[in-house]
C-alpha cells in the first residue's frame, strides 16, 4: 500500500468533511500555496470563544484537501486561543503520513488559513 495515499487520505480527499460555505460567519480568510497556486478559504462561526462551526472551500491536491478535512473535525469546538497556538507538528501528526519537505505546504495550508482567520497571522505554521 502507498505510504502517502492511504485509504483514509483518499477518502477524505474524495469526500471532504466540512467543505462548503457558512453564512453567516464571524471569521474568514483565504490563503494560497505559492508552489501550485492552489487556494483554500475558510468560514468560521464563533460562540463562547470557540469555533462553533467551520467550512473550508477551494481546491487542492489530495494532501491539502485531506488535511483540511481531517483538521476540520478537530477544529470544530476548539477554543480560539488554542487554535492560535497550533503548530505544524499538530497537523502533521494528525495527518499520520510521512510528508516530504516539498509537500509540507500542502499539508499546512489549512492550518495557515485557519490561523489567518483567527489571529490575523499570515505566516506559515512553524
Amino acid at each position: 500500500m502507498d505510504d502517502l495515499y492511504r485509504d483514509y487520505i483518499l477518502d477524505h480527499y474524495k469526500q471532504p468533511r466540512n467543505f462548503g460555505e457558512l453564512d453567516p460567519h464571524d471569521l474568514e480568510a483565504m490563503e494560497h500555496n505559492p508552489l501550485c497556486g492552489d487556494e483554500l478559504g475558510v468560514h468560521i462561526r464563533v460562540k463562547d470563544d470557540r469555533i462553533e462551526d467551520l467550512r473550508f472551500h477551494g481546491h487542492g491536491c489530495a494532501i491539502s484537501q485531506a488535511s483540511a478535512s481531517i483538521a476540520s473535525e478537530e477544529l470544530i469546538g476548539m477554543e480560539l486561543e488554542q487554535v492560535g497556538k497550533l503548530g505544524a507538528d499538530w497537523m502533521i501528526e494528525l495527518l499520520g503520513i510521512p510528508v516530504s519537505a516539498t509537500r509540507r505546504k500542502c499539508a499546512l495550508l489549512n492550518l495557515k488559513v485557519v490561523r489567518s482567520a483567527v489571529t490575523g497571522d499570515h505566516a506559515w505554521p512553524a
Binding site: 495515499y5 497556486g37 489530495a62
Partner: protein
C-alpha cells in the same frame, strides 16, 4: 512501436546522472523544461577550469590569468556563434530572468513613459511578466496582453491591432511556451514590431536548447536565454542585444569591470559587452556553457529538434492511453517544443507528479511560473512532462505506466 528513425539520438550515456538508481530504478527525467541534465563534457569543462585555469578575468598580467581570459572569451565566442550572434553584443547574465530585468531597468526606464504600452502575451513565464508590471507601474505605462487561443497560438491580427494603436514601445514574447509548448513565430512578430516602431524582446529559454536558433535571422532587438536549460551550468544566462540599442543604453549593474574610468562623482562606461557585466563574472560557468553549446553543435541542432519532435509525437500519442488525461495546447508535435502539460480528471497535478515519482519518473507539477496563463486555462496547476536530448521512447513508456498506476492508487 517507438517512433524512432534515423533522427534518434542515443546519448544518455553522455550524462553521468543517468548512472544513478533510485530505489533500484533508473532515473526517468522528464523535467528538462525546468532544468536540463549536464553531459560529462560540461561538468568536466567546469571542474577542469577550476582545477587548472582559475583566475580572475580581464586584468591579470600573469600567464594563469591570461588562460582564464582566453577561456572566458572563447566561451563567449562559442556561445555567440551557436545562436548566430556577435560576441560583443552577447552579454553574460546570471540567468534569463536577470537578462530580462536588465532590459526592463536599463532600456525600459529610459524608453517607456506615461501613455506608452508594453505588449506581452498570456503565455509568458513570470520572468517575462513581472519585470514589465514593475516597469509599467513605475513609469505610468500600460501592460497589455496578446491572447492565446485554444491551440496555444497568438493572433497576428491582434498584434497588428495593438501595434496600430501607436503606443506600444516594446513587444516581449516567449519563443517557445514553457506550458503549452507553442512555437511562436518570433521573427514575424519582431518584424511587425519593428515596422511599428516598437522594440522587441524574445525569451528564448525554452527554444535555444531544443532547436536551431539564429538571433540574426529572428531579428529581435533583444534575445535572452538561460544556460542551465541548455545543458549548461546554473548561474549563467545570455542576453543578445542589437548593438545600436545597447550602445545607447545606460548600464544596469554598476561596479568593477564595466567602467572605463571612475572619479569621485562620476564614471564612464566600458565598451560592449563589458558595460553590462559588472563585477566578477561566472567564468567557469561560461566555460561550461561553452562546452554545452559545443556538445549540442556536435549533435547538430536539426537532429536534436528531429529527435525531440519525434519523441514528443510519441508522447502525445501515448498519453492518449491514459483515461481522463487532457493535454493543453496544439495536438501536433510539429507545432510545439518537446513538452506536454496535462491534467487528469480526479487527480491533482501535485499528486500526479508524486505518484510518477513512485515509478522513478520526474515530472513537474504546478503553475510553471505562468499563473496568468493558468487562469486562462481555468486551472491552478498542470502536470508537465518535458523532453531533452537524452530522452528515449522508453522514458515516455515509463511515464504512461506510472500515470496508469497512479490512477489505480486513486481508485480511478
Amino acid at each position: 512501436m517507438p517512433p524512432v528513425a534515423e533522427s534518434a539520438l542515443d546519448v544518455k550515456g553522455d550524462f553521468p546522472i543517468f548512472a544513478r538508481r533510485f530505489d533500484g530504478r533508473p532515473l526517468v527525467y522528464l523535467d528538462s523544461g525546468s532544468t536540463s541534465q549536464k553531459p560529462k563534457v560540461v561538468i568536466d569543462a567546469l571542474a577542469g577550469h577550476l582545477r587548472n585555469h582559475n583566475a580572475n578575468v580581464h586584468r591579470g598580467v600573469y600567464a594563469l590569468a591570461q588562460e582564464a581570459d582566453a577561456a572566458y572569451d572563447s566561451a563567449r565566442s562559442r556561445v555567440a556563434a551557436f545562436t548566430g550572434a556577435q560576441p560583443e553584443t552577447t552579454i553574460f547574465t546570471k540567468n534569463v530572468t536577470e537578462a530580462i530585468n536588465l532590459v526592463a531597468y536599463a532600456w525600459g526606464r529610459a524608453n517607456v513613459g506615461p501613455g506608452d504600452a508594453v505588449l506581452i502575451t498570456q503565455m509568458e513565464h513570470h520572468a517575462n511578466i513581472v519585470p514589465w508590471q514593475v516597469l509599467c507601474r513605475e513609469r505610468g505605462a500600460e501592460l497589455r496582453y496578446l491572447e492565446v487561443d485554444e491551440r496555444g497560438e497568438l493572433s497576428l491580427e491582434q498584434l497588428d491591432v495593438e501595434l496600430a494603436r501607436g503606443d506600444v514601445r516594446l513587444v516581449a514574447v516567449t519563443h517557445v511556451s514553457n506550458v503549452l509548448g507553442t512555437i511562436v513565430p518570433v521573427a514575424e512578430i519582431a518584424a511587425r514590431a519593428r515596422a511599428a516602431g516598437a522594440v522587441s524582446l524574445v525569451d528564448g529559454a525554452q527554444a535555444v536548447p531544443h532547436m536551431a536558433v539564429d538571433v540574426e535571422a529572428i531579428g529581435a532587438d533583444f534575445y535572452a536565454w538561460t544556460g542551465h536549460k541548455a545543458l549548461g551550468p546554473m548561474g549563467i544566462g545570455v542576453l543578445h542585444g542589437r548593438r545600436e540599442i545597447l550602445e545607447r543604453m545606460e548600464p544596469f549593474l554598476t561596479g568593477g569591470d564595466m567602467i572605463s574610468s571612475v572619479d569621485f562623482q562620476s564614471a564612464t562606461w566600458n565598451e560592449l559587452p563589458y558595460k553590462f557585466e559588472a563585477g566578477t563574472p561566472p567564468v567557469a560557468e561560461a566555460v561550461g556553457l561553452g562546452a554545452a553549446v559545443e556538445y549540442l553543435g556536435r549533435l547538430g541542432m536539426d537532429r536534436v529538434r528531429a529527435h525531440e519532435r519525434a519523441l514528443t509525437g510519441y508522447m502525445l500519442e501515448r498519453l492518449e492511453d491514459v483515461p481522463g488525461l487532457r493535454v493543453a495546447g496544439a495536438p501536433e508535435a510539429e507545432a510545439r517544443g518537446g513538452l506536454a502539460s496535462f491534467t487528469i480528471e480526479g487527480m491533482h497535478p501535485h499528486d500526479i507528479a508524486e505518484l510518477a515519482d513512485r515509478g522513478g519518473v520526474c515530472i513537474r507539477a504546478g503553475h510553471h511560473c505562468a499563473q496568468p496563463l493558468m487562469s486562462c486555462l481555468g486551472v491552478s496547476a498542470t502536470a508537465r512532462a518535458s523532453i531533452g536530448v537524452y530522452n528515449e521512447p522508453g522514458d515516455v513508456d515509463a511515464l504512461v505506466d506510472t500515470l496508469l498506476a497512479g490512477r489505480e492508487v486513486f481508485g480511478l
